[in-house]
């Protein structure tokens, strides 16, 4: 800065003048029009993304994220309930993959035999108890041992 008082005043005047001019110029400029004229793709091409990425400390960002908090906020049961697994299997080739990779015809025959056995079990139970006159009451019987099956009252 100049030690001369006249010089100081001239500098102040120049400063004030410059500020006023810049303000007037900025007011006169149409920023939107200016942006429209900028070729953004060209600018992006000039940016060295690799260099930017190198400067980002990803580890630090990850450390700041509380993953457990995110997981806690996700209701997985609600998501699973929304998924129609049967429809999914029908619509995709997943079914064929499962079939080819995990089972043979023998396993499927076994599945059917077991399922038919379950059906006959139910039939015998139903008719056996109907014969002794307590058909309706059988419905209230437990489905299985308490450790394996939830009590009926808990599920209803």
């Amino acid at each position: 800065m100049s030690p001369n008082p006249i010089g100081i005043r001239v500098e102040q005047l120049a400063q004030a003048l410059a500020e006023r001019i810049v303000s007037l110029v900025l007011e006169a400029i149409d920023i939107d029009a200016l942006i429209d004229r900028v070729d953004v793709d060209k600018v992006i091409d000039r940016v060295d993304v690799e260099k930017v990425i190198d400067r980002v400390d990803v580890e630090k960002i990850i450390d700041r994220v509380d993953v457990q908090k995110i997981i806690d906020r996700v209701d997985i049961n609600a998501i699973v309930d929304k998924v129609d697994i049967d429809a999914l299997v029908e619509q995709t080739e997943l079914g064929s993959i499962i079939a080819r990779s995990t089972t043979g015809v023998l396993t499927e025959i076994l599945d059917v035999i077991r399922a038919q056995g379950v059906g006959l079990d139910d039939f015998i139970l139903r008719w056996g108890n109907r014969l002794v006159g307590r058909g309706g009451r059988v419905a209230g019987w437990p489905d299985g041992p308490p450790l394996l099956i939830e009590p009926k009252s808990a599920t209803q």
Binding site: I98, A99, I109, D111, G117, V118, L125, L148
Partner: protein
Amino acid sequence: MTTVPVPAAEMTVGRQGHYAGAVSRLVAFAADVGASWGVYTLGVALLNAAVKLVTGHSYTLSNHQILALIVLWFWEFVYFAYQWAVSGKTVGMAVFGLQVVTTAGAPISGRQAVLRTVGLGLTLLTLGIGFLGIVFQRERRALDDFIAGTAVVYDWDARAARLRWMARQEGPLHRGPSHRDRGPA
């Protein structure tokens, strides 16, 4: 392509852990009797061959009927007790998807396996009356179950079985217009 008929959904899905009924248990027991007798017969044949090879004399266990009966009973005892003690299921039960558990649903102990085997013998002596509990008792327990404090449940993953059956339909490309009509309810 030949397809196996699909069982209804209510028969296949969500039955794991439920008390097993009379037919499944009877068929599994018959399979076990067949398997154990088959192994016994094979064992006796091998024993005869070994004796003949070593001594040069022919020996047939069935010529000593009391001894053969004792060996058979002992073998049957080992067959059932050992398998129940180790895994809670015999070969026949594994094939038909059954498992022996405690009345609460936990794995059975070796003592319970032995008691159940003894109980099975006693139940057979009742000429079938001891098995009536499978149909008429609320936990489908036969006399041998009461003696050992056990129950029999379905052990196979029926949901996986249902998915396997659906998979057999060869995916969407091979589905005809009647697919949904044929499908499980």
